[in-house]
């Protein structure tokens, strides 16, 4: 029969004893990647929505919403300053005393100093 010939051709199941080949070293590298380092801290969404609400209440006259605009400005300048600080720290991998959360570059500098 044709069918049996196909059955006979099929691959036999793998035996249990497969020797492990160590192609790469089974060891962690002294590196971490920084893909998910981004933080959402200090966002000014609340201030933006406040200002939009105030503008729509006052017929889009922004001189009536100077308090809200000032708050948003303050928040945005603070956000940009913190962002710049973080970027500088990231690039340099500076270690700050008393810090609990680290960026990936900071962990890299730590691992460079004390390799596993």
């Amino acid at each position: 029969m044709r069918l049996t010939s196909y059955v006979l051709k099929a691959r036999t199941p793998q035996s249990d004893k497969v020797p492990l080949q160590e192609i790469l070293q089974l060891k962690l590298k002294n590196k971490v990647s920084g893909k998910y380092d981004q933080k959402n801290e200090g966002s000014c969404v609340h201030e933006v929505l406040n200002l939009i609400g105030c503008l729509s209440d006052n017929q889009y006259e922004n001189h009536k919403c100077s308090a809200e605009a000032e708050k948003l400005d303050l928040c945005y300048t603070r956000y940009r300053a913190s962002k710049a600080d973080l970027k500088y720290a990231k690039q340099k991998g500076l270690l700050m005393p008393g810090q609990k959360k680290f960026t990936h570059m900071q962990i890299r500098t730590l691992l460079k100093k004390y390799p596993i």
Partner: protein, 210 residues
């Protein structure tokens, strides 16, 4: 300029050269400041040709002239704004002389004050930007810094003047636009309010910025 070894800096002055302090008041203030000792060791660039310690110097006016320039012709841009100031003065004086004595205090006669108020009224407090999320482009309301808002205000004022009917001279149109913006009316203010309306329509996307 990029400070790589292979690329030479374009500017004559290296990066560490700082901007000059050319106003007498600022110099006097610096002498009393603690930073004076450090500033004595700094290298300064020379002042630009329009940066003078003259009484007639106004940073906003010189900025406005710079935005008016076409094909590098600064002298004609300066002439344009000076003629616009003349037109403003004439319009306001006419209004001043024709109105009642009670209303005369309300009419502003100084063209520089009118320009300053016009730019201040035209400044937007927020802006829209385009952000791409999941293959779709959204218009997102974002905060704006003071320099960019001044840029947009001046740009809109000039654009509004240029859009008007071409029967008048540009300086007359600019004068009318500046007076209208000074009174919180006109095309520029309308443009700003339309931007706010769009911000209101797209406020649900505000979190895309962060």
């Amino acid at each position: 300029c990029r400070s790589k070894e292979s690329i030479r800096c374009y500017s004559v002055f290296p990066k560490h050269y700082t901007k000059p302090i050319f106003r007498k008041e600022e110099q006097d203030e610096l002498v009393t400041n603690e930073k004076f000792q450090a500033a004595t060791y700094l290298s300064f660039k020379p002042a630009c040709i329009d940066e003078t310690s003259s009484e007639f110097y106004d940073p906003l006016v010189s900025k406005f002239i710079n935005y008016l320039i076409k094909q590098g012709k600064k002298s004609s841009a300066r002439y344009l704004l000076e003629r616009a100031f003349l037109s403003i003065k004439m319009i306001q004086l006419q209004a001043y002389n024709s109105c009642d004595s009670n209303d005369k205090e309300k009419i502003e006669l100084d063209p520089k004050v009118i320009l300053r108020n016009a730019v201040e009224n035209a400044k937007p407090v927020m802006e829209l930007t385009q952000i791409k999320r999941a293959g779709q482009v959204y218009k997102v309301p974002i905060p704006i810094d003071s320099r960019r808002s001044r840029l947009l205000a001046i740009r809109w004022l000039i654009q509004a003047a240029k859009e008007k009917t071409r029967t008048d001279f540009l300086y007359d149109r600019l004068a009318h636009e500046l007076i209208q913006a000074h009174n919180n009316q006109g095309r520029t203010i309308k443009k700003k309010q339309e931007l706010y309306k769009q911000c209101q329509a797209n406020k649900s996307y505000a979190h895309f910025r962060w």
